[in-house]
């Protein structure tokens, strides 16, 4: 009996994979209703940074080419705007429940890609964007609660998320039809 149990145990040991679902979670924007005229909420130019990946996997932030390794710092600077530079996003003071007024950045990152961009590059860039936001959230958490974002409880994480929203827009594709 014990032998059979052993064999069965070894079988389950071999076939079990303990892998969890891992990845970058995202929320897609809902499809705009065709009947409702899109009021082009004009996002102020200073509030938007366009990160573009072209067909050759070259990355551009704004209009200048940039290396992926430098993208994070650029985004952090863009979103925090430490010196209140008029070319970087404005901030609006919002009353955040449980925290009080906090100047929330209006910055939006717009991510654009070409049909020929490889998926790995796209994920690498997405990863850098998330990294930038995580870094800002960590800084904020340490400054206010003395702990990193991941170690905070749910309520506090919610406050941090409200203070530093993750505003990544995966741009409406310009041309979704295949070129024939």
């Amino acid at each position: 009996m014990a032998d059979i149990a052993f064999i069965a145990l070894i079988f389950f040991l071999m076939v079990t994979t303990m892998d969890q679902e891992k990845g970058l979670p995202r929320r897609l924007p809902p499809m705009p209703d065709e009947n409702i005229k899109l009021e082009n909420e004009k996002v102020n130019r200073r509030n938007i940074v366009i990160v573009k990946i072209n067909v050759n996997d070259r990355v551009f932030a704004g209009d200048e080419p940039i290396d992926v390794s430098q993208l994070k710092d650029k985004i952090v600077e863009f979103l925090t705007n430490p010196n209140n530079d008029p070319n970087l996003p404005e901030k609006t003071v919002k009353d955040i429940e449980g925290y009080g007024p906090y100047p929330v950045s209006k910055g939006v990152i717009s991510l654009q890609n070409d049909r020929g961009t490889t998926y790995s590059k796209y994920i690498a860039v997405q990863n850098e964007l998330v990294k930038a936001i995580n870094e800002i959230r960590d800084d904020f958490s340490v400054a206010n609660y003395g702990k990193k974002y991941a170690q905070l409880d749910d309520d506090k994480q919610k406050i941090v998320r409200k203070c530093i929203p993750q505003q990544i827009s995966e741009a409406e594709p310009k041309d979704t039809k295949l070129k024939k």
């Binding site: 009996m1 994979t17 990845g23 897609l28 049909r115 020929g116 490889t118 994920i123 995580n134 979704t176």
Partner: protein, 154 residues
């Protein structure tokens, strides 16, 4: 004094193995309960891209999978080497995602439906064109929660 000498012969008493089967059974039960057999067979080659900022999905049962990649060599004769979408057990086109999402949504209980996540498992060399098409289709059928599958970088 004699008593002490007797018990201190110098040799350790052997551990009883009588309870070993019970322990094995408990471990066996644990693995049997936690194992979920893989339901679908991969028909496309997927090696996930790497990312450092990955998050774990708490509820695995809420996720549906969309595989994108080059068909395995044994299917290449029939389907070619271009990137294909695999839903459940067969190759599908972008238009069929709608039905797939509807079916998956139907499988979930009423209160879980808003939390349904579509997990996109695409090969790292896939071109973004097909991914964009999938994303647009998902937006059209209002499945907005997605997860780009990625492995941890170490």
């Amino acid at each position: 004094m004699a008593k002490f000498k007797k018990s201190n012969k110098g040799e350790l008493p052997t551990i009883s193995t009588g309870s070993l089967p019970d322990i094995v059974f408990i471990i066996l039960l644990f693995f049997m309960v936690t194992t979920s057999m893989r339901q679908t067979e991969h028909m496309v080659m997927v090696s996930l891209p790497a990312a450092s900022e990955i998050a774990k999905l708490e509820r695995k049962d809420l996720s549906s999978y969309v595989y994108v990649g080059t068909p395995l060599p044994k299917y290449q004769g029939k389907y070619g080497t271009d990137s294909r979408i695999q839903l459940n057990d067969s190759f599908r086109t972008v238009d069929e995602i709608r039905d797939f999402v509807a079916a998956e949504r139907e499988n979930l209980s009423e209160q879980d439906r808003p939390f349904m996540t579509i997990s996109i498992k695409a090969d790292r060399d896939t071109r973004m064109g097909i991914i964009t098409d999938i994303k647009q289709e998902l937006r059209r059928c209002n499945a907005l929660k997605i997860l780009y599958g990625a492995n941890a970088t170490d």
